[in-house]
C-alpha cells in the first residue's frame, strides 16, 4: 500500500459514508464484521488480556504484569520447544526450498509423461500428516523398523531413534522435508510458468550462459513465488504440532505442543500456556511482517 492510495482513502471518507448506496453496503457487511469481531478479534484480545493475569481455567485472578511471560522463559520445556521449533523450521524449510526448486525446474520442461510425474510427486503431501507420522514412526521403531535396522547394521547409530531427542528431531526434519517438498515444488512451478519464454530467448541471443540466465532471469522473476512459498512453509513449520506428537509419541516438544499441554492437559499451567500461545501469535506475525517489509513480498497485485 503506497501513500497516494492512503490519501485518497482519507479524503474520500466523507463521500464514503455520505453516499446512501455505500452506506447500505456498509450496513450489509456489518453482520460479517460483527462475526469476525466475535470469533477472531475478541478471543485474541482476550487471550492477550489473560496473559497478563493470574488465571486458571475456571477464573481470572489478579493482574500480574509480565510474570506469565517470565515464568514461560524460565520453563525448560518451553525453551526446549522453542529451540526445537527454530531448528526444525530453519533446516526443514531450507531443504524443502532447495529440493523443491530443483524439482520445479526439472518438471517445468516438456517431456513425455510430465502430467503423471507432476501428480505422482504430490503423493507424500496428500497423506494426512498424522498418518505419515505414524508410518514413519513404525519405520524408526526398534522391533520392526527398517530405518533403525539399517542404521544399526551400518553402524551409523547405536541408540534407539525414538528415545533420543536429537535423532527424533533429525527424523522430524527428514519426514517434513519428504512430506512438504512437493508442495514447495508446486508453488515454485506455478511461478516458473508465469515467466515468458521470450525473456530467455532474448538472453540467449545476447549470449547469456545457463548460470547467468538462472541467476539473472529465473531467480529474480521467481522471487514473488518463492517468497510466498517460503513464507507459507515457515509459518506452517513454526506452528508444527501433529508431526511432532504423532511421530515422537509426544516426547518431542515444540511451541505448539507446549501450548497444548498447558491449556488442555495441565490445570495449573494455563496462564503460562496461554502466554506461550500469545508468543506464537506475535512471533508468527513478526515473521510475516519481516517477509513483507524486509524481503519486499507483494501482498496484492495492485502495483
Amino acid at each position: 500500500m503506497t501513500t497516494p492510495v492512503k490519501q485518497k482513502k482519507r479524503s474520500g471518507l466523507k463521500e464514503e459514508f455520505g453516499n446512501p448506496e455505500r452506506r447500505t453496503a456498509y450496513y450489509m457487511i456489518l453482520p460479517a464484521l460483527f462475526i469476525i469481531l466475535v470469533v477472531a478479534f475478541y478471543p485474541i484480545t482476550y487471550s492477550l488480556y489473560l496473559s497478563f493475569h493470574q488465571a486458571n481455567i475456571n477464573a481470572v485472578g489478579n493482574f500480574v504484569g509480565l510474570q506469565n511471560y517470565i515464568l514461560m522463559f524460565q520453563n525448560t520445556e518451553f525453551l526446549d520447544g522453542l529451540r526445537n521449533t527454530l531448528i526444525f523450521t530453519v533446516i526443514s524449510v531450507f531443504f524443502e526450498f532447495i529440493i523443491g526448486l530443483a524439482i520445479a525446474l526439472a518438471i517445468n520442461r516438456a517431456f513425455r509423461g510430465r502430467g503423471l510425474v507432476r501428480a505422482a510427486i504430490l503423493v507424500p503431501w496428500a497423506f494426512p500428516t498424522v498418518i505419515s507420522a505414524v508410518m514413519w514412526r513404525l519405520m524408526f521403531q526398534d522391533q520392526v523398523g527398517i530405518i533403525q535396522y539399517a542404521a544399526t547394521s551400518l553402524g551409523v547409530i547405536s541408540d534407539p531413534i525414538l528415545s533420543n531427542q536429537t535423532l527424533l528431531l533429525i527424523g522430524a526434519i527428514l519426514v517434513d522435508t519428504w512430506k512438504t517438498t512437493p508442495f514447495m515444488a508446486l508453488l515454485i512451478l506455478a511461478g516458473l510458468q508465469t515467466i515468458p519464454g521470450e525473456v530467455y530467448e532474448a538472453a540467449r541471443v545476447d549470449g547469456a550462459s545457463v548460470w547467468q540466465r538462472f541467476f539473472r532471469i529465473t531467480l529474480p522473476l521467481l522471487k514473488p513465488a518463492i517468497l510466498v512459498a517460503v513464507l507459507f512453509r515457515t509459518l506452517d513449520a513454526y506452528r508444527i504440532y501433529d508431526l511432532f506428537w504423532a511421530m515422537s509419541n509426544r516426547e518431542l516438544e515444540s511451541l505448539s505442543t507446549f501450548v497444548y499441554k498447558g491449556v488442555r492437559i495441565s490445570q495449573l499451567n494455563f496462564a503460562v500456556g496461554n502466554a506461550a500461545s500469545v508468543f506464537i501469535f506475535i512471533t508468527a506475525f513478526a515473521i510475516a511482517i519481516f517477509f513483507i517489509k524486509v524481503l519486499g513480498m507483494q501482498t496484492s497485485t495492485e502495483e
Binding site: 470469533v39 475478541y42 521403531q141 541408540d159 495441565s266 496461554n274
Partner: protein, 460 residues
C-alpha cells in the same frame, strides 16, 4: 488403556485463541456476549451445552461412558431401564475412547456450569480432581463404610479424597507380570520371581540358553502408562510419591523411591530390557511378548486373552503364566498399579436426578450385574466376593492366576492436581529410565516440581 494425547491438528494460533473463548473465560459470559448480537443464536448452537445441570426431573438421567465394543454396556442400561420402568430412565451418552479427551470434555462441561451429564463412568485418576472443585457429589453417606467393605480396597481408595468418598468402584484393572512358564521350567525355575533381582537372574539365564531377544519388557514411554509403571517400581521398594496420610506432602525424594527408580533403570543397564523400552507403550510390550521375543512382560489383564488368539500370538496359553509384580526385597508386599473405572455423580444435578443416578450405581455394582459384565465382557469386577466365584474364575483365567495382584492394586497419587503431576512424573520417570538423568536427580527434580504444583494449586 490410558492413552492421553492424540489431539487433532490444531493448526492456527487462531484456533488456539478460539479455544480460550470457550474455556478461558467462563463459557456463560462468552455466550452472553455472543448472544447480544444477531449471530448469537448461531454461536449458541456451535458452543453447545452451556447451561446448568441435569437431564430434567422425573427420574431421567444421562450416563456417560466411552465406547464399549463388547455391547455389555448398552445391555446393562437396558436391563436397568426395564427393571425400573416407569420410575427411572437412564440414557447412555457415548464419550471419546481416549481417556484424556473424555476427561477434558467432562471437565469443560463442569466448568461451563454443570453440563448435561448426571452420572459419569470415569477413570480412577479423576475423582480427586473433580472433587476438589466441587464438581461431583460426596457419596460418603450413601456409599457407607459397610458397603465399601464389599469392594476391593484399591479402587475405594482412588475415590477417597480428604476422608470423603466421591465415587463407587465399577470395574478394575491392575499391572501384572506375564512370564514364559515353559522357558522358566526348561531352565530349572519352578516358580515365578518374587524380587526384581530374581527376575533379572532368571531373564539372564533364559536369554543365554534359549536366545530370547528380551528379558523383560514394560511401558516406559512418557505417558500415563509410563507413570503407572514408574510408581509401581517406587511402591515395590516401599516408596511413595505423596504421603498417603497427607496428600499435600511430597515424599518422592526418599531412599525407597530412589531405589525403585534405580531398579527400573538397572533393567536397561543390565541388558534385561532393551534401551528402547523407554519408548514402549502397551502395544510394543504386547508385540514383543506375543511374538515370543520376551521372557517377562508387565502388562494389564487384557493381554491374557490375546495369548489365546492364534492370529495375534505366536505363543500359547500353556506357555504363559501370570504372577504379581516382583518387589525390591524378599517378603515385601507386591503392589500393582491400579487402573479401572468408577461411578461419580454430578453435584449440579437436581437431587431427584442424583437419587436416580445412585440407584443405577447400586444396580450396576450389584453382584449379578458385575458377574454379567465379567462373563460377557471380561471386565474385572470390583467386588471382593466375585474373586471366589468359580464361574468367573473359569471364564477369566487371569483372575485365578493372580488374584493377589488384583486385590492388592494401589492407586496412583490421589491429588486434585493429578494432571499436572502426571506430566512431571511421566517426564522424570522416562528421563531416568532413558539414562538422561540419574534416579537421584529424577527424584529430587520431581520432589521440587510436585511441591511447586501443590503450592501453585493451593494459591489459585
Amino acid at each position: 488403556m490410558v492413552e492421553r494425547i492424540e489431539g487433532p491438528k490444531e493448526s492456527a494460533v487462531l484456533s488456539e485463541a478460539l479455544a480460550f473463548a470457550g474455556r478461558g473465560m467462563n463459557r456463560r459470559d462468552f455466550l452472553k456476549l455472543a448472544g447480544a448480537g444477531a449471530a448469537g443464536a448461531a454461536l449458541l448452537g456451535v458452543a453447545g451445552c452451556g447451561g446448568g445441570g441435569g437431564g430434567g426431573g422425573g427420574g431421567e438421567f444421562t450416563f456417560s461412558f466411552g465406547p464399549d465394543p463388547s455391547g455389555t454396556l448398552q445391555e446393562l442400561v437396558d436391563r436397568f431401564n426395564t427393571e425400573y420402568e416407569g420410575q427411572y430412565t437412564a440414557s447412555l451418552r457415548e464419550m471419546p475412547a481416549d481417556t484424556g479427551q473424555y476427561f477434558d470434555q467432562v471437565r469443560t462441561e463442569f466448568q461451563a456450569g454443570g453440563g448435561d451429564i448426571d452420572l459419569i463412568g470415569g477413570d480412577v485418576i479423576w475423582p480427586a480432581q473433580f472433587a476438589a472443585n466441587g464438581y461431583i457429589l460426596d457419596l460418603s453417606d450413601r456409599f457407607t463404610e459397610e458397603d465399601r467393605q464389599a469392594f476391593l480396597p484399591g479402587p475405594v481408595e482412588s475415590n477417597t479424597y480428604e476422608g470423603k468418598v466421591f465415587g463407587v468402584p465399577w470395574f478394575t484393572d491392575a499391572g501384572l507380570l506375564y512370564y514364559r512358564q515353559d522357558l522358566l521350567e526348561e531352565n530349572g525355575f519352578s516358580k515365578p520371581p518374587r524380587t526384581w533381582d530374581e527376575l533379572k537372574e532368571m531373564a539372564r539365564t533364559v536369554q543365554q540358553s534359549s536366545g530370547t531377544q528380551y528379558g523383560f519388557v514394560f511401558q516406559g514411554a512418557d505417558y500415563e502408562g509410563g507413570v503407572v509403571n514408574g510408581v509401581e517400581y517406587i511402591y515395590s521398594a516401599g516408596g511413595e510419591v505423596l504421603d498417603s496420610n497427607s496428600p499435600d506432602t511430597v515424599v518422592v525424594d526418599s531412599p525407597e523411591a530412589i531405589e525403585g527408580l534405580t531398579i527400573q533403570r538397572s533393567m536397561v543397564e543390565d541388558g534385561i530390557a532393551p534401551q528402547s523400552v523407554a519408548t514402549y507403550k502397551e502395544q510394543e510390550t504386547q508385540t514383543a511378548f506375543l511374538n515370543g521375543d520376551a521372557v517377562f512382560a508387565r502388562n494389564w489383564p487384557y493381554l491374557y486373552a490375546l495369548v489365546a488368539d492364534p492370529e495375534q500370538s505366536q505363543i500359547t496359553p500353556e506357555q504363559v503364566s501370570v504372577a504379581p509384580l516382583p518387589t525390591a526385597n524378599e517378603g515385601d508386599q507386591s503392589a500393582s498399579g491400579l487402573g479401572g473405572w468408577n461411578f461419580m455423580i454430578n453435584a449440579a444435578s437436581d437431587p431427584e436426578t442424583q437419587e436416580a443416578a445412585y440407584e443405577f450405581i447400586r444396580f450396576a455394582t450389584s453382584e449379578e450385574q458385575q458377574r454379567f459384565r465379567a462373563l460377557e465382557g471380561s471386565f474385572l469386577p470390583a467386588l471382593q466376593s466375585l474373586y471366589e466365584d468359580q464361574e468367573i474364575l473359569d471364564a477369566i483365567p487371569v483372575i485365578a492366576l493372580a488374584p493377589e495382584a488384583l486385590r492388592n492394586s494401589k492407586p496412583r497419587p490421589v491429588s486434585p492436581f493429578y494432571s499436572d503431576m502426571s506430566l512431571e512424573m511421566g517426564e522424570q520417570f522416562n528421563a531416568s529410565l532413558n539414562g538422561e538423568v540419574s534416579p537421584e536427580e529424577a527424584a529430587r527434580t520431581l520432589q521440587g516440581s510436585l511441591e511447586g504444583i501443590i503450592q501453585q494449586g493451593q494459591a489459585v
